[in-house]
Amino acid sequence: VLGPYSGLEYPFCVRVMDPDLRSYLDDALAPLRGGPGGQTYSFVDHGSASRRRYSIYLDGLRVVRTPAPSVALSYLLWHINRRAVRVSERYLLIHASSASRDGRAVVLPAPSGSGKTTLVAALVRRGLAYITDEATAIDPATGSLHPYPKPLALGPASPAGDLLTSVPPGVRAFLESERHVGPAALGGEAEDGAARPTVIVSPRYVAGAPTVIEAISRAQTVLLLAQNAFNLEGHGGEGLEVLGRIARGSNGYTLVSGSLEEACDAVVTLLG
């Protein structure tokens, strides 16, 4: 059994039979290691004779069964992330990737498909510490970011795939639909402490578009963060105040780009 792990406030373990996949997940989940242990996921291979060969169980109850190993792995990690986001009460969660340098963080809030995971992967490759690719967790008491370094989920078409170090042959079948990687696979590492949000950038990938970055007002920055919050209703007016404090201490931008390299340059420059 791998773990225990802690995704935000969600404790879990993972049981995997396949030795190659176990080794791979051990690396990908390494930044989440720690905590008291909790629910146990099991990744089960029913064998080649079974039409729907792969199942994921949670504490003995099957949550999905599929013929595709990559779908099973994606579902497992999606389920863990969903639970982590749902059970978190302490943190104000923003749908955003983020990375840091010397304790100063760039937050990249955006809807799915905007390229925030690809961009944060490139930033990690540039030496920034990885915080998360999905749910940026703000501690309301301090306004700082709590790391949630889940495996990055890179789509098959993501140009960040080129940044990866080699994928072991034994797990390629598990990574056909998405490549789930820890920051180490990008040659980087995870942030292990609190980081202060300093730059807020809403990224949008548009094929062939020139790189254009525009400053937005502090109120627009609050709106951007609030619109991408997972659980603002749970934090209410205090949550809005927290976002206001963050906006007062940071600079906000929108970024449209068709070039990962240029987008990465722009963000690194803004972070200083």
Binding site: R218, A219, L223, A226, Q227, L232, G239, L240, G244, R248
Partner: protein
């Protein structure tokens, strides 16, 4: 501006208790916890929002703001009426309860 919006009751207006607000550099973000909706007020709407403490009617606001900003009353009236009507339509403000009970009467 719709006809309905131009007929704003002559209430003393106040911010709805379900609405949280944060003001930054002259703009305001509103979060309506009841409807879970977000709104961004520009600079002029922020000035009006800040004055909605339940002590002023729309006519009071027009008079104060036209004087403060040197804008003619008719122009300010149209703007204040439109902003208040929009805020009211979104459920962000409400008539302040007062013994005089002025809410519901026409403004002009």
């Amino acid at each position: 501006m719709s006809q309905e919006r131009s007929q704003l009751p002559a209430a003393r207006w106040t911010r709805a208790p379900s609405v949280s607000a944060v003001e930054l550099d002259g703009e305001t973000v509103l979060y309506d916890l009841r409807g879970r909706r977000l709104h961004l007020l520009n600079a002029s709407a922020t000035v009006i929002w800040a004055a909605l403490d339940g002590s002023r009617t729309s006519d009071d606001l027009v008079e104060e703001l036209s004087e403060a900003f040197g804008i003619e009353v008719e122009t300010m009236h149209d703007h204040v009426t439109w902003v208040l009507a929009t805020l009211r339509e979104e459920g962000l403000i409400e008539a302040a309860s007062s013994p005089g009970g002025r809410a519901g009467r026409g403004t002009r």
